[in-house]
């Protein structure tokens, strides 16, 4: 991936799903999108166990962790996973965002996002969040992160 001239040196990003979720087209899509913005992506693939997610994130010390889940268990899984990430001193301030189809009913009154933000996520992209919202978030972040 060639870097745009005006782009800053890219961020290190981990793209992952959680232990119960086997869907990967979402991960492949997010990886391509982030790479096109000039960032370096490590894609952890399907069904990432909690311990492996934490270990890989500690090892890679990324600027951003992008979690994606679409199987409908994401809301439950995310509440279990985020304390584990935040419990690591080196990941306490790392930006962690999540998106996808987080429940099984397709609708939600915003309580999913509120609960997950309160649990430690920096941003929660609702089901119909466009790729553009992630793009703007990442642009803002890469402008803010010191290089």
């Amino acid at each position: 991936m060639e870097l745009g001239k005006a782009e800053r040196v890219g961020l290190d990003v981990v793209v992952s799903t959680m232990a119960s979720d086997a869907h990967t087209w979402n991960l492949v899509f997010l990886q391509l999108l982030l790479e096109e913005l000039g960032h370096r992506v490590t894609n952890l693939g399907a069904c990432v166990p909690d311990t492996e997610l934490v270990a890989e994130c500690r090892r890679l010390a990324p600027d951003l962790i992008v979690l994606s889940s679409v199987n409908g268990h994401g809301f439950i899984d995310a509440q279990r996973v985020i304390p584990g990430l935040r419990a690591c001193p080196e990941l306490l301030r790392t930006r962690v965002v999540i998106g996808g189809k987080l429940g099984i009913t397709g609708t939600d009154d915003g309580s999913v996002a509120r609960t997950l933000r309160a649990a430690g996520f920096d941003e929660v992209f609702e089901e119909h969040a466009s790729a553009d919202e992630l793009r703007s978030f990442v642009r803002a972040l890469s402008a803010a992160v010191p290089v």
Binding site: S20, W25, F29, A46, C47, K101, I104, T107
Partner: protein, 473 residues
């Protein structure tokens, strides 16, 4: 438990074969809820649908991945899962779910997506069921990060458990998921090869009744050619087991509109009828959005059945009814299957059969043990699924979609494919290119629905905006 017969239902394979002989397509939902009472209501509604149906218990993602503890916690907290946690609920509870429903005339299949199926197979046998689905490759690569050789060994044990039940009079049935893989963007030659190889694996491990899957892709003619190729290969390679073909309604990004979803489902039903397939797994108008309700599933079953009925009436009007391809009447022939007759569809040969045969032969040549042959084939890249992130997949192949939705190889990696003119066609590029390819079917059918509803504004089959019903979980 031991007092009860191992298999209270009519054998799954026999049931489908009989329906096929009668000329009716068996339709089946994807359905699973965490609560036993809801699961029971769903099975009852499936049985009551105005269609020739079989029932489904779809297992939730925690149970699939072996995390029974997480499934148990969720059940204890009353959280709704995306399927039925069959290893959490006691066998007696599952028997209660099935009582009076899964008796003669209504077999129920367990669909689960587990790379290590032993516990799930043990649980379904304990509940008196004996039909399930999967395969050492198709339930590993798209569903897990379990090493392929571990999944192969686990599936050998899973097959052995099922095969053992044959000794107590059960007639276990196992369906390959190999005809689906990542749901979309895998060219049909590889889907067919994997479906056949998994069926051969099941047979090598003692199964006597199998079905071979194929998931509807993005071009109707290509799909017809593919299902016919699959039938021909099954007939040639599985002479001594009972088998039938099962078509899956599209397994990739589904149309967003109810009209588009219904058109796509009807096309899947026509595909099944035209190619002589015996069974169809449906998708609902909720597919692109969330887990469907029971009512949405019933509507989908009935939509598919009516489309299938219309298609078979049309084809028998055109010619005398096509000989059954997929399976045969068990009464006449207790084992083995028919040779492929000439189905209604006459898709031109673009080389899919040759491609699938070349892959199957290359794999079978590697080792007489099919499990070992599959592991070696993936290690060498003879089999290589495009866009699959699993560590044991070589990842050197790429596919593309042409303007008509036909799938082709843009990069064949190390796969021993016969020379094809498509080779060297443009690859899918970037996130926009990927999204365009993934959403091709969705966009095509949503557009078709808009056009048709503009043309027939009163046709409820197209304009009806929502299928009513309480949410299932």
């Amino acid at each position: 438990m031991t007092a009860e017969p191992a298999s209270p239902t009519v054998p799954f394979g026999d049931h489908v074969a009989r329906a096929h002989a009668r000329g009716s397509l068996v339709v089946q939902p994807r359905m699973g809820m965490s609560r036993p009472d809801r699961m029971r209501a769903g099975l009852r509604a499936t049985r009551g649908a105005a269609a020739s149906t079989v029932g489904t218990i779809t297992v939730d993602s925690y149970t699939r991945t072996g995390d029974t503890a997480a499934a148990r916690r969720a059940v204890a907290r009353g959280l709704a899962l995306n399927g039925y946690p069959i290893t959490v609920h006691q066998p007696a509870v599952t028997r209660q779910v099935l009582r009076g429903i899964a008796d003669d005339g209504f077999p129920v299949q367990v669909r689960h997506g587990s790379a290590r199926p032993e516990e799930i197979v043990a649980a379904l046998l304990a509940a008196g069921l004996d039909a399930t689905e999967g395969g050492p490759v198709s339930y590993c690569l798209p569903y897990s990060r379990v090493p392929l050789n571990v999944a192969v060994a686990a599936w050998e044990r899973g097959c052995a458990l099922l095969a053992e039940a044959q000794r107590t009079g059960a007639r276990p049935h196992l369906e390959t998921f190999g005809g689906c893989m990542m749901g979309q963007l895998c060219p049909p030659g590889l889907l067919i090869a994997l479906s056949v190889l998994e069926a051969l694996f099941f047979r090598q491990h003692g199964l006597r009744s199998v079905s071979l899957s194929y998931a509807q892709q993005a071009n109707a003619r290509q799909d017809e050619e593919s299902v016919i190729a699959l039938s021909r290969l099954a007939a040639a390679l599985l002479p001594d087991v009972q088998w039938h073909i099962v078509v899956y309604a599209h397994m990739g990004m589904y149309p967003l509109t109810p009209g588009g979803a219904r058109l796509l489902l009807r096309e899947a039903a026509r595909l099944a009828v035209r190619t002589g397939a015996a069974r169809l797994i449906v998708k609902t108008t909720a597919e692109a959005h969330r887990i469907p309700t029971v009512a949405e599933n019933v509507t989908a079953l009935e939509t598919a059945a009516s489309a299938a009925g219309a298609a078979s009436r049309a084809s028998s009007a055109r010619a005398s009814a096509p000989p059954p391809v997929g399976s045969r009447p068990v009464e006449a022939l207790p084992a083995g299957s028919p040779t492929a007759g000439s189905p209604a569809a006459e898709a031109p040969d673009t080389g899919i059969h040759a491609e699938a045969s070349a892959l199957i032969d290359a794999v079978l040549d590697l080792d007489p043990d099919i499990g070992r042959a599959l592991v070696t084939a993936f290690a060498r890249g003879y089999l290589d699924v495009p866009f699959c992130l699993h560590p044991d997949n070589a990842g050197r192949t790429r596919s593309g979609l042409d303007a008509d939705g036909r799938l082709y190889w843009s990069a064949a990696g190390a796969m021993p494919l016969p020379a094809r003119p498509e080779r060297g066609s443009p690859p899918i590029l970037g996130s926009d290119g990927l999204m365009a390819a993934l959403s091709y079917v969705q966009r095509t059918f949503d557009r078709r629905a808009r056009t048709e509803s503009a043309r027939h504004p009163r046709d409820p089959r197209i304009t009806q905006t929502t299928d009513r019903g309480e949410h299932q979980t």
